[in-house]
């Protein structure tokens, strides 16, 4: 189906590198914390998404398959 970005909200410290590396899907709120589009990542952005996930200094992000995420809900 596709992949989406999952975030551990407790771990996130608002560094903001994710928004720098994937501005199409991640923006920062007034306090520097990410607002992440919940939709599936377009194939053209998957590499950038992976880089954004790896760049997080506190490992708060991960890529998860959409089907797994939907099942949890």
């Amino acid at each position: 189906m596709g992949e989406t970005i999952q975030i551990d909200r407790i771990r996130c410290d608002g560094h903001g590198l994710c928004a720098e590396l994937l501005p199409e899907l991640i923006t920062l709120d007034d306090w520097g914390y990410p607002i992440i589009a919940a939709a599936a990542i377009p194939p053209s952005l998957v590499d950038h998404a992976r880089r954004a996930v790896d760049a997080c200094p506190v490992l708060a992000l991960r890529l998860a398959s959409m089907t797994a995420v939907m099942q949890k809900r």
Partner: protein, 405 residues
Amino acid sequence: MELIRPTPGAETLAAHQQRLGPLPAVGSGELIAELEASGLLGRGGAGFPVGRKWRAVAERSSGNAVVLANGAEGEPLSLKDRSLMASRPHLVIDGALLAARAVGANDIIFYVGGEHRAADAALRHALAERPADPRGRARIVAAPAGYVSGEESAAVHFVDAGDARPTTTPPRPFERGVGGRPTLVQNVESLALAALIARRGHAWYRGLGHDGARGIGLLTVSGAVNRAGVHEVAFGSTLSDAAAAAGGLNDDVRAVLLGGYFGGWADMDEQWGLPLDASSLRARGLALGCGVVHFLPAESCGVEATARIMTYLASQSARQCGPCVFGLAAIADATRRLAARSPQAGDLERIVRWSGELTGRGACRHPDGAVALLQSALQVFADDFAGHQRRRCLTVAARERVAVA
């Protein structure tokens, strides 16, 4: 009165057994089926179907599940859980025992708000009255005071590690809870009702209630009523019935807060005849939640009331997630400025924008609930908020008009 005794004091084991008979020997699968058929919804605030929850835990249990009876009752306006535990503790214990049998649990934890002394004492005494078998498998854990201590992952976290802060989910407690085991976190009122349904069947429960609504439940009625307190109602009763049960109104009412701080405001002009049942409320974007019904007197300003609630909710953040800590603080500050009629330019716009950005951005639903309350206030008190941004309070103006006339 099924859930609360008409007189104060806890019901003894003897009286309980005389009134209701012994705990039925119904099997696990049968009991879960009865609950599913009854349509019983959880009473902790989320309103999740009880039978479905028990089934989810039972499916994952290998006999090692845990039952956590949630009597933390951190919602400030709610009194029903402590009243139930203080009045009919054996009904709650019965519910927990049946749940343990149904989901395959050998451990029962009663998570009781530490400040609810009467409830704690009644439960301890009631457990001591029980024979060694259930007593040995059960213990009471005092929940720390605080709004989010009763959140299900917070409850599990406290039992495991002494830290009543919510944790990141998934996995949810029904998958991995106390000690990594499947855990049923269920509100004490839900357990009490399950204990009654186990004895009398799903048809009995469905038959209660008015006009197509099913079942009974506890409401905590407060505000502009003569006899604020906990009242048992049949669902389908209207808001006016709830007010009548609480001794009637003692003032004009502008709005009612349904479901406590985790719920939302409803405009009294529109909702007076509103039936209190899950589907009617949901159709209007409302929910009964934990059963709080608070009537706001007409002379109280909705903006001020909302500012006080938002300040409280911001202070109750577990301080684990940036959006919650900063977002709720900023919203509370701006709402307080609005309430004091000294807003900064754009304060109203800002709280509307922020409230659109916070949902789903915390580890738990605390910011979601706070934002939902704010959004209901912005809708019900729209004119008041607009007035306050222009430094005018409609409520004060109305009061002054009455005084002059």
